[in-house]
Subunit: 561 residues, 2 copies
């Protein structure tokens, strides 16, 4: 909903004032809207666009070199008056006539036409192209009755570039009309918007449903359906817009518009599905635009627009533009980097290893297999334990980490890696895939442990003891916790100490230390955790053992077998 | 809420893929995120930024010349892993070392630190500045504990410009740390956001309330209050951020950030209130940024950031940048136009008039006064009539129009205008202020009527008859309605015909025609209107007269008195 406003009746005026204040180098306010603050040549056709407010960047966001000379700014979702159109056109015109353009809505048609008549009567040659691109709003036979939506940006950009290039008024009209006739849009809406000061939305779409073909002011569409996954939505949009593909049309500018409540992340996901579908259909995509192009306040929804190009339209589409909300061209000259020159840090090569160390790596792999299996067996139990005071993802995090480590170990062993390199790869993979603080610490610990091993000799009991100590110290240095804080340290510290103090054969000492860790992990149930900003729900864990300590003990016991 | 997605666990990856596909000239995907697709000089410090997804344009939107060399892209609201950071840094680095920067959150600190340690161990000099600008999240004494919010953009821009200018790693760290220390943000939140696939919002703010100091992931703030009008909100934000104004600080970059659900229109309204408050406090605003800078999906809220400048910081802040979401500099060179050279179409000058015509203008003024008074008297009644099948604003539209026309008539008469000019001015004013189709048609009709009068002679009965006919014909040419469609034409057509056919003295003929119009207006209650897309609720009007016809008859009767 619209939340930030003062007097709702002054919303559009204050919006325009703030916008012009912000972009004072580019635009300046005039009666009825705004015009460029920069010099334009005498005799240039003035491109004047406009409509109701609430659709930013439409329309004021597109005033500047390469696009519009002026924008007429009506109240929210209401046509500007003929007097506003007239005033902006008078302020914008430079003796080359005025080109008016706007989306096809009855109020805008009436007021812009009244203004055009008056401008012509005053000796200022004025012509108009009305944007009509929404294919659901009228049939192909009556396309002049279609609503104007994202096609606005197409037609304004083409007209703006043509006027900047020195086209005369008739020339601008001709090419802009051709652009309009080559533009096809299809929209879906997920939720309505709330106007400043209104208690209720202007219109609604039921949750989980979408208005297919719905207009940007809530104009009825052609159907209401369940919301689709992005891939299916992409297919629907592409199929609909391609139904009117002109014969032989091949190259197209493509626009995906978000209405305000549908965010850039979602539009990029959608684009990831749309682009291949268009390419499969033989469409060559030219200078696409994906973003909030014509919004309706916080309304949620997206649309797809295809603008079929010929040589002239393509040249005008990619021409430079410099407006507050739409820019083409760069102040910085760049050259393309050879993609092959970019280092791939994940391409692993292992140092040469002795057969003894390779045998130790195979032993680590066997341990990794047992650990992964044991964690899968206990995943649900660990998740439940974590959900008492956390987000319940500890079991999933541990299996993700162990699975990734196992995969890395397998690849390392197959590639002939030694014990140190294999364990380092396992640690990296665990840290990368497990997620969360716990996953990062497990990865860091395993990687530190690997530093105590070697690729040119078998692993010794002394190395393992050093490795476990190294892992503990590394975790302590990053984890910001101490023994007694009810974390995995409450199992890892006693495990490390028990292993170091037990001078018997490694397997026996490890098994004994794992039992110590298990006892201490269970005893965390009696600990009262530190409760703070980072662990606001930790008091819920009182009486329950810590899932991180429990899983660490489980891993150690499993490794011992 | 997040609506467009496929598998929620793949959301961040598909988002990144779609983003890189869209901006293939600028960025290319690598393991863990993306890097520039363009050449950068050997030996340049690589600026690597990152964090969780869901904050676009942070962070991938800022990769490109003048800003970042690479962005690490974690899952939604989750830190990227140390392995991701390491991989992106390796792909981005050009032999000049790596500068890491990110917002101050525990998971990011852990993973970026682990990566930094590994990069340094591998012989790639790596240093970090952690962004900490949110003044509510820790005291000034513990500012290193503050969360990073819009300050990200500040620090990344400064570091990016410094690296581009050839600063070495220590130099980039020094200036970026100085930028961080000079940056202060304060936020309010109006509504939470919903993650892909989640049934419920991640957190909520009660409707009509705002979380003061709330973080971008819903971290608790310092208070919850009723939403304020924009002017009061601006005052709160400015006062809070100025509490930590450094001694002597004068020039500042100013940033207003919208979290995703708060739209550009609202931010411009807010800026319209913020900018004067800062100026009053002696702040010189340099290159401000108002928009969606660091979002949280569709979360609603805004923040204010002040970045206090010295000469070096200002130079770096305004330096060119060319990224998908942040650009400085232009491909088009512009010069400022003299604002005084822009024609003000609303500055009215009246042609010279004879005293006879001036007397007629005064008579029109007297009529205008009576009409405005009568419309105010009947405003509520007209509104009620309109609310049966419309939006109930007809009474308000008519009084707005009549008041504006009266003001224009008064000014015209005071300026010595003749009857034709005075009536034209009245028509323009009516059309400009009344709103809606009816207002535009009233304005157009009055303006057309003015064309039948003169400034050099008194108004004659014949002129009035011609004027009324001209108004009718003009309205018919624009209104797309016919007699019987239940519009004002059902009163205006019989009025015009009656006036034309009655050859008696004007006042008498007018009064009689007004009676005809009244009878016909009342009779519109018996008409069944055309019901279509433009008038979907028109059937509700059956049995009730048309408000447009009723108000026209009222105006005509009032004019006759």
């Amino acid at each position: 909903m619209t939340t930030v406003f003062n007097d709702p009746t002054q919303f559009a005026q204050e919006m325009l004032s703030g916008f012009c204040r912000l972009h004072a180098d580019t635009v300046q306010p005039v009666t009825g809207g705004c015009v460029r603050a920069t010099e334009t040549p005498e005799g240039k056709v003035a491109v004047v666009i406009g409509g109701g407010s609430g659709h930013y960047p439409a329309f004021a966001g597109w005033v500047g070199p390469g696009m519009a000379d002026g924008a007429v700014v009506g109240n929210v979702f209401a046509s500007p008056s003929a007097q506003q159109v007239h005033a902006v056109a008078k302020a914008a015109q430079r003796g080359g006539g005025v080109f008016l353009s706007y989306g096809n809505y009855a109020g805008d048609v009436l007021n812009f036409n009244l203004a055009q008549e008056r401008l012509n009567a005053e000796g200022i040659p004025t012509r108009t192209v009305v944007v009509a691109d929404d294919i659901t709003s009228a049939s192909a036979e009556e396309r002049h009755k279609r609503r104007g939506t994202t096609g606005d940006l197409v037609v304004f950009k083409i007209a703006g570039a043509a006027a900047e290039a020195g086209y005369d008024l008739d020339g601008v009209v001709e090419v802009a009309q051709r652009a309009n006739d080559a533009t096809y849009s299809f929209a879906v809406a997920f939720a309505g918007c709330t106007l400043p000061g209104d208690p209720d939305p202007l219109f609604t779409v039921p949750k989980g449903r979408m208005g297919v073909g719905m207009g940007v002011h809530g104009e009825p569409g052609i159907a209401e359906e369940d919301v689709l996954p992005a891939a299916d939505l992409a297919r629907m949009l592409v199929e609909k817009v391609l139904t009117e593909r002109p014969d032989g049309a091949r190259r197209a500018a493509v626009l995906v518009n978000g209405l305000g409540g549908t965010k850039y992340e979602e539009m990029f996901v959608l684009w990831n599905d749309i682009a291949p579908l268009l390419e499969d259909a033989g469409v060559e995509i030219v200078a696409p635009e994906v973003g909030e192009l014509i919004t309706s306040l916080d309304m949620a929804g997206v649309s797809l627009t295809l603008f079929w190009l010929d040589e002239e339209l393509e040249r005008l589409w990619v021409a430079p533009a410099q407006t507050p909300a739409f820019r083409r061209g760069s102040a910085i000259t760049t050259t393309r980097r050879d993609p092959a020159a970019i280092e791939d840090a994940t391409a692993v090569t292992y140092p040469e290893a002795t057969t003894e160390s390779q045998a130790s790596a195979r032993a680590l792999l066997a341990i990794g297999q047992r650990v992964a299996a044991a964690l899968h067996e206990h995943e649900t139990e660990l998740g439940k334990l974590d959900s008492i005071a956390g987000d319940g993802d500890h079991g999933r995090g541990m299996t993700n980490g162990a699975d990734a480590a196992l995969k890395a170990l397998t690849e390392a062993v197959e590639a002939g890696a030694g014990a140190a390199s294999a364990l380092a790869a396992a640690g990296d993979a665990w840290g990368d895939r497990a997620g969360g603080t716990s996953g990062a610490l497990w990865g860091a610990g395993l990687r530190a442990a690997a530093g105590a091993l070697a690729d040119d000799s078998a692993v010794t009991g002394a190395q393992v003891r050093t490795a476990v100590r190294a892992a503990l110290e590394h975790i302590l240095s990053y984890g910001k916790a101490e023994r007694g804080d009810k974390t995995l340290l409450d199992a890892l510290i006693p495990f490390t100490e028990a292993l170091e103090q037990d001078e018997s054969e490694l397997a026996q000492a490890w098994a004994a230390a794992a039992q110590v860790a298990t006892t201490e992990a269970d005893a965390t149930a009696d600990l009262t955790p530190r409760i703070g900003r980072a662990r606001p729900l930790a008091e819920r864990s009182i009486g329950h053992p810590d899932p991180g300590a429990i899983s660490l003990a489980l891993v150690m016991r499993t490794a011992a077998r």
